[in-house]
Amino acid sequence: MKVQLKVWRQKNRNTSGKFVTYESPDLNPNMSFLEMLDVVNESLASRSEEPIAFDHDCREGICGTCSLVINGKPHGPHKGVATCQTYMRSFKDGDQIVVEPFRAKAFPLVKDLVVDRKAFDRIQQKGGFISVRTGSAPDANSIPVPKENSDLAMDAAQCIGCGACVAACKNASAMLFVSAKVSHLGLLPQGQPERFRRVKAMVDQMDEEGFGACTVTGSCEAVCPKSISLDFIARMNRDYLVALAKGESKKPAAGGV
């Protein structure tokens, strides 16, 4: 099969970009979308043209590095998969496929289809962790966790931080990402001591990065490669409200550091 690619090309942040159309070489329908781009890049390189820059790493749907808005939808036409697990058999021979980078002020473009998602790292660094050593794996059931909480925590922990929620949201809001990161620790006993400090710090950093707010459209949930639920945003809203009501924590007494 062959497809026509209409790809966003932009040398760097300071130059203006434009769409360029390429005819793909002959493709195997069972190639992943990223393998297709590899093949196209090989043919570009053999013609001494600049290959298309795109993000990729594990190619098995767990690292969150691949991005791309394919025909107007982050991660391509399917539900619950990332670009790396989107296959060319999902397109028809001769299709034109429009490929764009994720668009958000907080995700500045680096080159072509590559955007800088360090805003997510900075949000994580504000509280997406617990500050104590948890040691090696404890004996089973030494810390009781209700089954429904551990299930929900695992659902939230599936977030791979790819940023598709931001790309799909009409407000470029990062709520789904932040809520998943807040919830997966907030649901577990180990995450309780810092639960409210965490949500406050992460939401405040999210606002600082310039992401939009939530209009509850549900687009993020629809495109999330891990199908993370809007329920987590409600949970984050609830925790943040409690955090605001609690106020700042007490300053350490004199002599304390």
Partner: protein, 262 residues
């Protein structure tokens, strides 16, 4: 004070303001609808209700000022959020953003809201301040009409019933009303559910019920409000209005001249 400032500065905080002010206005919308539906009883009921409100400033002005504050907060937060939401994506997608699981109602909240807000301004000029210039009689019926002159023959109260009938007799006025009530119900179909979401009052178990509540409320509100102009256009109250307009004019008792019996 610092807490209020923090709420305002946070994107989540502004959503709390949207949700709480929206919730207060929803209560008003339901109460106002219940009051209006007295239109389907005999004229004396809604006229007595109107007289009661007019002569009870504690209730009238408390709710007016409260509502004004809620409307102000809701609109201010909405505009502020919309500006920062737009700024969050300076460069858009080539083919626009596809719907992706979102409803039209969800994507156009600011527009349905602003149109309803402009309708409310008109609605207040029309029925609360009763400006003769805006009731459409001069333009569409070729005669002047002053709702203030409508007086219930038996009691001398301001005749709300006749005012409603005469107001909605002008099809353009009824049409704008129906359009706005339609937009309001679309706005609330998304807004009521989002209110629970924004305040965090949602879980896997409750979401289907909250979504159903929002849909039911939006239909009830549309039917409740739309029934009044539709029934007027179908002829309700025409005979009564003729009676009032012939008998009420010479007496011309202003409702305020009746000292409230307290």
């Amino acid at each position: 004070m610092i807490l209020l400032l923090k709420i305002w500065q946070s994107s989540l905080g502004k959503k709390y303001i949207m949700a709480l002010s929206g919730g207060a206005m929803l209560l008003f919308v339901l109460g106002h609808m219940a009051g209006n539906l007295q239109f389907f009883l005999a004229p004396t009921y809604i006229n007595a209700y109107g007289h009661f409100l007019q002569t009870t400033p504690e209730i009238l002005w408390t709710s007016r000022i409260g509502l004004l504050v809620m409307v102000g907060l809701h609109i201010a937060a909405a505009i502020s959020l919309t500006i920062s939401n737009r700024a969050a994506r300076p460069i858009g997608y080539s083919g626009g953003l596809s719907a992706q699981g979102s409803t039209l109602a969800a994507r156009t909240m600011i527009w349905s809201g602003l149109i309803v807000a402009s309708f409310i301004v008109y609605h207040l000029l029309h029925y609360t301040l009763t400006l003769p210039q805006v009731n459409g009689y001069q333009v569409f019926a070729g005669e002047a009409m002053d709702f203030d002159g409508l007086v219930e023959p038996k009691t001398g109260y301001h005749d709300i019933f006749a005012m409603i009938v005469l107001g909605f007799k002008i099809p353009v006025v009824s049409g704008f009303y129906l359009l706005s009530v339609g937009l309001l119900s679309i706005h609330l179909g998304h807004g009521v559910a989002s209110m629970f979401q924004s305040l965090g009052l949602r879980s896997y178990a409750w979401w289907p019920r909250i979504a159903a509540l929002a849909r039911v409320l939006s239909v009830v509100i549309f039917v409740g409000y739309a029934s009044i102009p539709v029934s007027v256009l179908l002829g309700r109250g025409s005979d009564y209005v003729n009676e009032v307009r012939t008998s009420g004019k010479p007496a011309h008792v202003s409702p305020t001249s009746h000292s409230p019996s307290k």
